[in-house]
């Protein structure tokens, strides 16, 4: 998984993995989770290709659940590889955020001085 960037595909994949890690979830629930956490309004046209990418990479595994009403739902769960990817991605994310925080703090301090 690409974790080199704070934005874009790498971080979206990481956030989706994290949302799924909270419990098996279907696409719409994942989008709702990300939106509730202030991570943006991820449209279906972006979300489902990302889920397909993760499925193709073996990081998530789907299963179909027949609901009481409406069409069946496709639920996603993390695989062992997905958990590893999430852990590695989270570490990379923290390192990037720490670095960005230091950079911004130094810049602000320099401006204040």
């Amino acid at each position: 998984m690409d974790t080199r960037s704070l934005t874009g595909r790498g971080s979206l994949d990481l956030f989706i993995l994290a949302a799924i890690a909270r419990g098996d979830a279907h696409g719409y629930a994942i989008a709702a989770s990300l939106k509730a956490l202030g991570l943006g309004d991820v449209k279906g046209g972006t979300l489902y290709p990302a889920l397909a990418r993760l499925e193709a990479g073996g990081l998530v595994v789907p299963r179909w659940e027949v609901g009481e009403a409406g069409p069946a739902r496709k639920l996603y769960a993390l695989t062992a590889r997905g958990w590893t990817g999430l852990k590695d991605g989270a570490e990379a994310w923290r390192a990037q955020v720490d670095g960005a925080g230091r950079l911004l703090a130094e810049a602000v301090d320099a401006g204040a001085a």
């Binding site: 290709p49 990302a50 789907p62």
Partner: protein
């Protein structure tokens, strides 16, 4: 039909045009249907135009579907077949007997090599696909491959392979078809983007 039904129908067609296996097409369409059911969003607002959405989904799977070694092997097969067809045509042009005569086939070994390259690859693909156009392309490839193998075996057994002119023409055409078919299967059909542009109903939405 509702706008959602129209959209999902077109999405199904777009994914099938990208040679997706039928179960995966069904999954993607069902998932989109469920999303629209839950959100109440307009299809194009949620997913974009069907062709664009199909492209995005296809890109998510494609690198896994067509790993580099498969592409390299397929490229070798295409090159060998194209070369074999060219040699056959050249042999026919140089032949003096017209359609009544026969030709020593100088292309048996390259065709056999091509068959050895692509038959297992194509068989792998057949298991994951269905549909008329795809079946035709695969059949063309398989026929070319089988012809090559048969020719190779005959030659290795010391059986001289004298082909009548009409049969040689058929074999040459099969090689060309097989080259086009294999090329389309593994490197993208050249007519695909044009067909997508014509068929997409998204533009009317």
């Amino acid at each position: 039909m509702s706008a959602a039904d129209d959209y999902l129908s077109e999405l199904r067609r777009q994914l099938a045009a990208r040679y997706w296996p039928t179960p995966r097409v069904r999954d993607a369409v069902d998932e989109a249907r469920r999303h629209l059911h839950e959100t109440g969003e307009a299809p194009v607002d949620a997913f974009g135009q069907p062709a664009d959405y199909a492209d995005a989904l296809d890109a998510a799977w494609r690198p896994r579907d067509r790993p580099l070694p498969v592409r390299v092997v397929a490229a070798i097969a295409v090159a060998l077949l194209a070369g074999a067809a060219g040699t056959l045509v050249g042999g026919l042009l140089a032949m003096e007997g017209g359609l009544e005569g026969s030709v020593e086939v100088p292309v048996v070994q390259p065709v056999a090599l091509a068959a050895a390259c692509f038959v297992p690859v194509v068989i792998t693909r057949v298991r994951r696909r269905s549909g008329g156009t795809k079946a035709f392309l695969i059949a063309a490839a398989l026929i070319g491959g089988v012809a090559g193998v048969v020719g190779g075996v005959l030659q290795s057994l010391g059986v001289g392979l004298q082909l009548s002119a009409p049969l040689a023409i058929v074999l040459a055409c099969t090689c060309v078809l097989a080259s086009i078919g294999i090329g389309a299967l593994f490197f993208g059909a050249p007519w695909r983007s044009r067909r997508r542009a014509h068929r997409s109903p998204g533009g009317s939405r």
